[in-house]
């Protein structure tokens, strides 16, 4: 279906307390955990050092992203998604979520991919929108303004009230990436969050960078700074993020074509706890199967199984999560058509 699917812009996440994207958001501030467009690796210029991932809010999780992608996603209830491509540039999806814990809902989403082609799998502008049956909207607009500058705008509303609005601009140099993000700027009240990211390749496999968060509220302002380093080996990636908000270490290892393994350690000063998780992803393309499992230090065991049911364009997702400590179990399944 042409460039719409190739750009693979995921729909923005459902509304909820954000702050998951930013490393160090103080309480009271919410930032959308906006998932960035997964862009293929960046331009590699000849013999120069490898380029860097997009520094979005939660940019250093682009360093941590490879490891986080291995972990299964928890879902509950039944989710039925219908994807329909209307043209080369436009795609529409309907999602019905029947939930056991919350209200059931219906979401309508649309993805538009523009005509400015910057690479084999990238085309801009990308506009992704998602609306709930109660009127909550998630929208993202990503555009490549010039050769090296890409910008993104994202909005999130809860019914008709704007919960998150942010804009960012990212500059990709030869061997560095710099980005600035403005989150929930409110000129009238005088509050907002500004995040600056910088990531520089030091050698062909080592990248170092930092993040600075400045938040302001009437009567309160502060900054949080953190440093990040990422080392890429032949079949592994190790990332470390240290800062005022805690430490985050992740290790991703590709054992063979079928098995990928990740270990993650998170220590948060805000919530005063640490957790270690171990996850693995098993690909069996012959059986059209992707299996992700995870094991946690909080005694949580979870797994997700995704299977393409050939020859129909159906895919089935099953998920089960068990919390041994609280003795709570959650399972869900989803069907994607198209």
């Amino acid at each position: 279906m042409g460039s719409v699917l190739a750009a693979s812009a995921p729909s923005p996440p459902p509304p909820g307390p954000g702050g998951a994207g930013l490393v160090s958001v103080p309480p009271g501030f919410t930032m959308p955990s906006v998932s960035p467009v997964s862009v293929t690796g960046g331009s590699i210029n000849g013999q120069l050092k490898t380029d860097h991932p997009l520094p979005n809010p939660g940019a250093f999780e682009e360093c941590h992203r490879k490891c986080k992608e291995i972990f299964p996603m928890q879902m509950e209830g039944v989710r039925i998604t219908v994807n329909k491509g209307l043209s080369n540039n436009f795609q529409v999806n309907h999602t019905t979520l029947l939930s056991t814990l919350e209200d059931s809902s219906y979401r309508f989403g649309a993805t538009y991919v523009g005509t400015k082609q910057t690479g084999p799998a990238e085309a801009f502008p990308v506009m992704v929108g998602d609306m709930d049956n109660s009127g909550s909207l998630n929208a993202q607009v990503i555009h490549q303004i010039t050769d090296k500058v890409r910008s993104k705008l994202a909005f999130q509303t809860q019914q008709q009230k704007f919960v998150n609005w942010q804009g960012d601009a990212e500059f990709r140099g030869k061997d560095f990436t710099a980005a600035v993000t403005f989150g929930n700027p409110d000129v009238l009240v005088g509050s907002g969050i500004v995040v600056a990211h910088y990531l520089q390749s030091v050698t062909s496999s080592l990248a170092l960078g930092g993040e600075l968060v400045y938040h302001k509220r009437p009567g309160e302002e502060g900054t949080v700074m953190s440093l990040a380093g990422r080392y890429t080996g032949s079949n592994f990636i190790a990332t470390l993020t240290l800062g005022g908000a805690g430490a985050h270490v992740s290790y991703y290892h590709k054992a063979n074509d079928q098995l990928q393994v990740g270990v993650e350690l998170e220590a948060s000063t805000r919530m005063q706890d640490t957790s270690v998780s171990f996850g693995y992803q098993l690909d069996v393309p012959k059986a059209n199967l992707v299996f992700k499992g995870s094991l946690d230090s909080n005694w949580v065991v979870g797994a997700t199984l995704e299977k393409k049911l050939q020859p129909l364009p159906l895919s089935l997702a099953l998920c089960a999560f068990l919390n041994h400590r609280k003795n709570k179990f959650q399972c869900g399944f989803g069907v994607t058509i198209g």
Binding site: W299, V301, L305, L322
Partner: protein, 142 residues
């Protein structure tokens, strides 16, 4: 025995005219019989317990402590093994079982395919590259 009986009868005769004197002691035969019966039931355990009194106090307390300890350890071990078995089984069911099912199914499918190919095209058809001697006559017909 005759002597005791004689004593009993003597005592009874002695007592009966004497109403002032209260005889609290039951007749000897009965005493002896009762004591024997009761002592037989109780003293077995009490005797055995009494035997332990010959050990020094420290040893007795050490034995008591170690017995209690081993009992509590056994209880803890039992409950630990129960919960470990539960956690292990459910985690195995969640983490490993689906993959095992799917790979087994895949293997069976492939086996079936191979068998079908064998039936269709003769033996050695399932092997990759095994073409010698099984050329069907179809090209000739074409």
């Amino acid at each position: 025995m005759i002597k005791s009986e004689g004593n009993v009868s003597v005592k009874a005769r002695e007592l009966s005219p004497d109403s002032g004197r209260v005889e609290t002691r039951p007749p000897e035969g009965e005493i002896e019989g009762d004591d024997e019966d009761e002592e037989l039931d109780e003293t077995l355990l009490e005797r055995l317990w009494g035997l332990t009194e010959m050990f020094p106090d420290s040893m007795r307390s050490a034995a008591e402590v170690s017995a209690q300890c081993s009992l509590s350890v056994a209880k803890k071990l039992y409950s630990f093994s129960r919960s470990a078995l539960w956690v292990g089984t459910t985690s195995f069911m969640i983490l490993v079982l689906p993959v095992v099912f799917e790979t087994e199914r895949l293997q069976l499918e492939q086996q079936q395919l191979q068998q079908q190919r064998q039936i269709l095209l003769g033996p050695n058809a399932g092997m990759s590259g095994g073409m010698a001697g099984m050329m069907p006559p179809a090209p000739g017909k074409l």
